[in-house]
Amino acid sequence: MPREASRGLPRHRSRYPAERYTRWMLRALTALLVLATLWLVMAFHLRGQWMFALLFLVLGASLAIVFGKRELMSHRYIYPALAGMGVFVIFPLVYTIGISFSNYSSSNLLSEERVRVQFLDQTYQAEGQAFDFQLIREGKRTRLYLEAEVAGEVRRLVSRPLALAVDGQPLTVEPARAIPPGEVLGIREVIARRDTLEALALVTPAGTELQLAGLRSFAPILPRFAENPDGSLTDLRDGTTLTPNHETGFFVTEDGERLTPGWPVAVGLDNYTKIFTDPDIRGPFLQIFVWTFVFAGLTVVFTLAVGFFLATLLQWDQLRGKAIYRTLLILPYAVPAFISILIFKGMFNQNYGEINLILENLFGISPDWFTDPAMARTMLLIVNTWLGYPYMLLLCMGLIQSIPRDLFEASAVDGGGPLTNMVRITLPLILKPLTPLLIAAFAFNFNNFVLITLLTGGSPDILGASTPAGTTDLLVSYTYRIAFQDAGQNFGLAAAIATLIFLLVVGLSVLNLRLSKVSV
């Protein structure tokens, strides 16, 4: 093979300058990309995000190897596509499976160090060391006078004029001997200036910050927690200790109470056992699981039935106007799905939708398409059949064309009608090549997220579920809602369900490859 030969040639300096430049450009580009990924590796490593550091390390290393070694010439052609799949399909897959063994969620989101920093940043107002204050007006200036008795000794402080306070910057207060001259403002005027006073921060000569605490006093702001050498935190307000619990990923008080936020920790198979044992999750999960299979199965059956029926009609030689029929009949395939689904959402509307208007006029009924579970499911199947049959139509037309014509001739000689032809000749002959495509269609509808999200959003809801679950939800939309819609944002649980779906999809696609006998 000549293409093999070029690989074995010794490396030589090309005679053509243009080619030499191209080679150097390629080398420079490779080096640049490798450097860029290495920079990402370092940056992620420094932030402690080792999963991402590892991803880009693998990416950079494989890039350097594939484009550095001359023996891997052929792999250079497939490398970009493989890298794309690796980063955006396989890595997310592995990452998702990883998350499914953790309690990653909106309450356990940040790393332990970040959570610790958040706790250490917390402050509290020490009410016991509060200063009583008075507003004193002297001419146009208004000042604060603070007074507190500490250990039998009276401390007096006077602030600079309030008008000098700049937004966000603390106002300094200085020691005073006695109450400064001027008019002491009453409580009514204090209330009138409450907003100004609340925004105010005072700094004593010792550097303590004071803030308004009630209508009569200012109190110092102190850090609430102090870190101990063993990793626990001491609550300076009441002297209790918070110990980090690495099993649950929370700081725990002495009474065993968890404090949020927590950090993600490995929880083993907890998410999986929850799916199968927690009745509030298992019930909705099983219901959605069954509905997903029913939905995907019925969709394939209905779309195939309609598509096959129309295909046999359109294959009829003596029928005129087939081209026009064909174009009109594949229209649902040509209109973007997100638009036609929304069109149906409007048409099925219970109050002003055209479908209920027609049904009302003809039969005097107006079904609750969006609030009654059975009707909502029926609507989904109707809409999905409308959306999906053109694909089946096109497949069937292609396959019917490949059936030898003399079979139909023979059938006609033997007196077979169109129904016999359809059931005895066409269907058996196209079913076998169609099977892998039907499995693919099943897998697609099994995961038909867009239809559910845009049409019903999963509603009406299943009663008594602890996670957001709807009677029309498919497993994918259920997973999406657990991860992104619920207030709890339980990524761990969502990832566990996603992993289960992955397993199902692997099964389907292996079966598909077997049946279609893909030869590589």
Binding site: Y77, W316, D317, P433, V450
Partner: protein, 296 residues
Amino acid sequence: MAMVQPRSIRTRKLGAHLALLGFVAMVVFPLLLVISISFREGNFATGSLIPERFSLEHWALAFGIPWERPDGTVVQPPFPVLLWLWNSIKVAVVSSLMILALSTTSAYAFARMRFAGKAPILKGMLIFQMFPAVLSLVALYALFDRLGQLVPWLGINTHGALILASLGAVALHIWTIKGYFESIDGSLEEAAMVDGASTWQAFRHILLPLSVPILMVVFILAFIMSIMEYPMASVLLLDEDKLTLAVGAQQYLAEHNQRWGDFAAAAVLSGLPITLVFLLCQRWIVGGLTSGGVKG
């Protein structure tokens, strides 16, 4: 073709026409209805297919032009539809070009070269392609969230992230192009290589010019897929002026504020070009989509 003619052919033909017309009516009714609604006055107007009270209000709003009603009130466009359409097209063009580049080069290697791990890589790609992106959204979100802290134009709420994320879906396209390459005789490239061309030159100057039709098909397929992509865009894009059409359009029919008339005009405006592109290219697209099945 001389088929043996059964009796009562005329009634059967009539029946077939009636059945087909019935289906066509069901298919076309929603589409005509939306066109009709886009010209009706008000957002909840009902009536016959030909509007009784004709109004261009929804169309003006869809084009982003404020509309003055007869009573003097001025209605502002609710959503930037044209901007969404532009975002969609921008993302789709860039990502389709990148997908095309990635899948063409790999398809060439798979069709013409022998190398270690070819069969398992190809099979593995086909299997991994079956996983819906919806399931790994949490991971993709985390990836772009972290990446965005280092490289701002690849973070959450950027089109860069959406374009990059679409690069995972290449296996199908590689398969299509590979099939086409295999149908082209390799002797031309071999002749070029005997004359001193490198592998890359043979690919670039001999095979690629011969494959323009399939490259067009794959580009259009990738373009349409990208325009219709919903799950990733719904998670990666946040701001109203960043949304693509697929994510933005649903806001017209939000739970408590349904703008049926405004939606109809926006849907026709944005859906029509895509539909026309599809219908014009349907012969090639259909061939590309169904080739795997018909061969098997």
